[in-house]
């Protein structure tokens, strides 16, 4: 077997052609990356997705797919949607705290101006 097969072709136990769509993004040194993506999306779907993208955007697409696949493996119910939910909650809490602090500023400034007037 060709020792220079990419991680995808190694995993799929096939020959790695020169124009393999996976090889630029799945080096043999990181077998987990492809196995995780394959578990969630399947090789065929990933291949189709990459083929539909311009070449210069494929690396980022693979990284985001890898991230989402890892999230899904770690949290099979919510995946990365759990992170989105957490961030939205954090935003709400921070907005509430900010509004409260700004109200305190307004009250303090009003008190100060009243005190100055008197």
């Amino acid at each position: 077997m060709n020792p220079k097969r990419c991680a995808a072709c190694k995993y799929l136990r096939r020959r790695c052609p020169k124009d393999c769509i996976f090889s630029p993004y799945f080096p043999p040194s990181d077998p987990d990356k492809f196995s995780c993506i394959h578990r969630i999306y399947g090789a065929g779907n990933v291949s189709k997705m990459l083929q539909q993208l311009p070449v210069q955007t494929r690396a980022e697409a693979v990284e985001s797919l890898s991230f989402e696949a890892r999230c899904r493996v770690q949290d099979p119910v919510y995946g990365c949607v759990g992170i989105i939910s957490l961030l939205q909650t954090q935003i709400q809490k921070t907005q509430t705290l900010l509004a409260k602090t700004q109200a305190e500023i307004a009250v303090a400034q009003t008190k100060h101006s009243q005190h100055t007037y008197l």
Partner: protein
């Protein structure tokens, strides 16, 4: 539900097969919403979704399907970044709000020090910050259904300023380490 005499679920309609009584998709993909399964099938594939659902207890499958639909929709809208684009956007919002909050807290401290130069207010601000951080790490929000009380390193990293304080790009989101995510109430409830 699938079975003799009833309409096949959206999955079995799309896959052109008989909808069995125990069809794993039927409870979550009713025939009146064909788009829901179509988009999940396009991104994940029916067999992968079936495997994922089989590995989950029944009471968690509805939430799992809804999150898969959400992710699939995000991926179709943004084929390069998918949900990671949304995460990046929200992280930027959090960063901006935290900066505004820091400015506001500094301002109130200054005002208080003008009137009460005893520095008592400084401790209140510090405690407020600590409470906020602790709350993010150990949230006991009643709306959490499946919280397993694990710390969430993303929230900790963000609140302690370890993440890039400049605007987060999708690439920097991908580089962050994620361990033991805190399970939150689903977005759609």
């Amino acid at each position: 539900m699938g079975g003799p005499g009833s309409s096949p679920c959206a999955s079995c309609k799309l896959l052109r097969r008989r909808c069995a009584k125990e069809c794993i998709f039927a409870p979550y993909f009713p025939p009146d919403d064909p788009h829901k399964f179509a988009i999940v099938h396009k991104v994940f594939g029916a067999s992968n979704v079936s495997k994922m659902l089989q590995e989950l207890p029944v009471h968690q499958r509805a939430d799992a399907v809804n999150s898969l639909v959400f992710e699939a929709n995000a991926r179709v809208r943004d084929p390069v970044y998918g949900c990671v684009g949304a995460i990046s956007y929200l992280q930027n919002q959090v960063t901006q709000l935290q900066m505004q909050l820091a400015v506001a807290q500094t301002e109130i401290l200054c005002i208080q020090m003008q009137h009460e130069p005893t520095l008592q207010s400084h401790h209140e601000v510090f405690e407020l910050h600590q409470d906020d951080k602790a709350h993010l790490l150990h949230s006991n929000n009643n709306s959490i259904n499946n919280c397993n009380n694990n710390n969430y390193n993303l929230a900790y990293a963000m609140s302690s300023g370890q993440l890039n304080s400049n605007f987060a790009s999708p690439s920097s989101v991908i580089q962050m380490q994620m361990q033991d995510p805190l399970k939150q109430e689903s977005l759609w409830t």
